[in-house]
Amino acid sequence: MTVVQAPRRDDRPSAVPPRPTFRHRLSKWDVKYSPYAYIAPFFVVFGLVGLFPLLYTAYVSLYDWEIGDDDPPFVGFENYVQLFGDGQFWNAVGNTLSIFVLSSGPQVVIAVLLAALLNTRLRGPTGWRVGILLPYAASLVAIGIIFANLFGNQYGLLNSILEAFGLDRVDWQAGTLSSHVAIATMVNWRWTGYNALIVLAAMQAIPKEINEAAVVDGAGPVRRFVSVTLPLLRPTLIFVVITSTIGGLQIFTEPKLFDVGQGSNNGGSSNQFQTVTLYMYQQGFENFDLGYASAIAWMLFLLIVVIALVNFLITRRLASTEGGRR
């Protein structure tokens, strides 16, 4: 914006001659319109791969559209009406929210604490930072297979450990809560380090003087963390929370790979860990019911928007009562 305005102000006083030359006008246009051309590729790409699919999905969701249909009949909002009465859909919504809370909650807290640790004086800081990012770099499919093995009912490592301590083995896949915990563990293992690095970058951008002033005022490390660091991290925390909301509600690979049935989209024997995305995929590409799957996709989209908004408001509140207003 400043780039656009600066030359114009320079021009005004010298614009006394009545006829601006063509060159002059060209450079004026250049200043005025070129920035739009420069950022246009993003909007074109976004329109093609973001906006268009979104709208097209909405269009498909109004039809009883099966793969291979030549002439899908228009049904209006029937898919949505059906969806509201579909117990399996609400079960999937419940599972998704449960897994989301179990994963995103601990994830953000641990990420901030990890970042605080990494922000202290450590030997070989780069090594530690790369270390916490490693789970993120590993292949998601490999992680899924390893965790499915760890949480195996009869030959899983975790159950062997539980037994070694004289505890009862847990059938991780069978129970609702136990399967959600297992899947959330998978998600946390992968994403905590990634979020920690983002928070760390924000922490290092906090001016040293503020912290030093707090030290001079006699604030201890905990007090400094709560009253200085956290409020200044607010924008970053909002970003982290919103991205993990989007990712968490779209969770797909982890529950799919956690299912003992190979390639199953059921999310367990009684859909106990079937997420919305899994259900959408099952409707679309296993039952070939594209219209219904599109309706699910749109409901998921709206759900994400609502929850991201709620999270945004909560995060802003929380961080500001801690000292932002002072």
């Binding site: 093995n149 009869q154 199953s264």
Partner: protein, 420 residues
Amino acid sequence: MLATTALLAGACGTSGSGEPADSGGPIELTIATFGEFGYERLLEEYEAAHPNIKVTERKSGKAGPHHQNLIAKLGAGSGLADIEAVEEGHLSNVLDKASRFNDLSQIGPADAGADRWLPWKFEMGKSKDGKLIGYGTDSGPLAMCYRKDLLEAANMPSDPQSVKPLFATWESYFQAGQEYVQASGGKPWFDSAAQNFNAMVNQQEVGYLDREDKLTLDNNPGIKRSWDQVTAAVTQGQSAKLTAFSNEWNSGFKEGAFATKACPAWMIGVIKEQSGVENRGKWAVTDAFPGGGGNWGGSYLTVPTQSQHPKEAAELAAWLTAPAQQLKAFQAKGTFPSQTEALASPELAAQTEPFFAGDPKTGELFAAQARKIAKPQYKGPGDGQIQENVSTPALQAVEQGTSAAQGWQQLVDGAKKIVG
């Protein structure tokens, strides 16, 4: 957003290679398969014998994605290979869209007639209106595999001749299972309920759907009786509760977690691979299966109407499914033939399996089992989904503690959702 994009990509299904049909140059044929069909050498051989034809094989690893791609591109109207392989479990979805496939009895060569295949195999490749949609490739005749050492330890008969009465009917099979559980101190008899239940349902005269494509579960005493038998066995502790093809199931083979296993011909290779050398000689196989015989698995070659060269494609498909070629594919990758002539061949009869106790003649044994299969069961659209997404999970739920009655309700409700 990601989700919607993925959905769209599938919906649009951008067309793949659409080579123009020119008359002058060599004809290019594509064949799309999954897993291992054993066609690599055969296709080279075919090209050598037909200089004007060039064949490209598109292989995909797993059956699931292959068939998803098949149905999506069938819908899109382009992008399919000239020959598309279809697995038995997905066949009903393909037969349901018969108008998009060529009738092979019309365009195929004369020697690929009904007498080439086992009658049930041939019949299954036909659509409801009698069009021949697919040439049968391999098959999966069922026999029973069992752990000789475990049966011996439980003081039960263990050689292939004397176990036959145990595996004569499902009643005797589950009866023996109950005895085994008691004699072995609570060890499971079979790997999972779903593995047996699927075979039992396939043996019924009428399956999940009748010929009018109506769901039969409310009035199909055969299926309900099978359900009751299997779930009773689960409550007696006969099931090892290992979902087939899961990691735990694989480990189960090494650990000797179960004593018997429903065993289609291709399962021999799976048992060998998963049990490992340390269990060599412990497994045995006998030519008996509860309730007679049955088939599990096997594929068909189809020629979609999208093909630019349907006649040439049908010729290649007919050649690939001829007895001589099917025997070579069997030797290459163990795909068991479904052709009467191949089943009678001395080469097949001589095939033995040294990993198993007593070095059994598996070729001869499975050929005999294949002939025991009587009539094909009609499988309507959605049959495979009911089996994979409803009945298997419902039985898994019973194994995890749900009551048999509740599990049955889960099966009925789920099936209604798919068919209704």
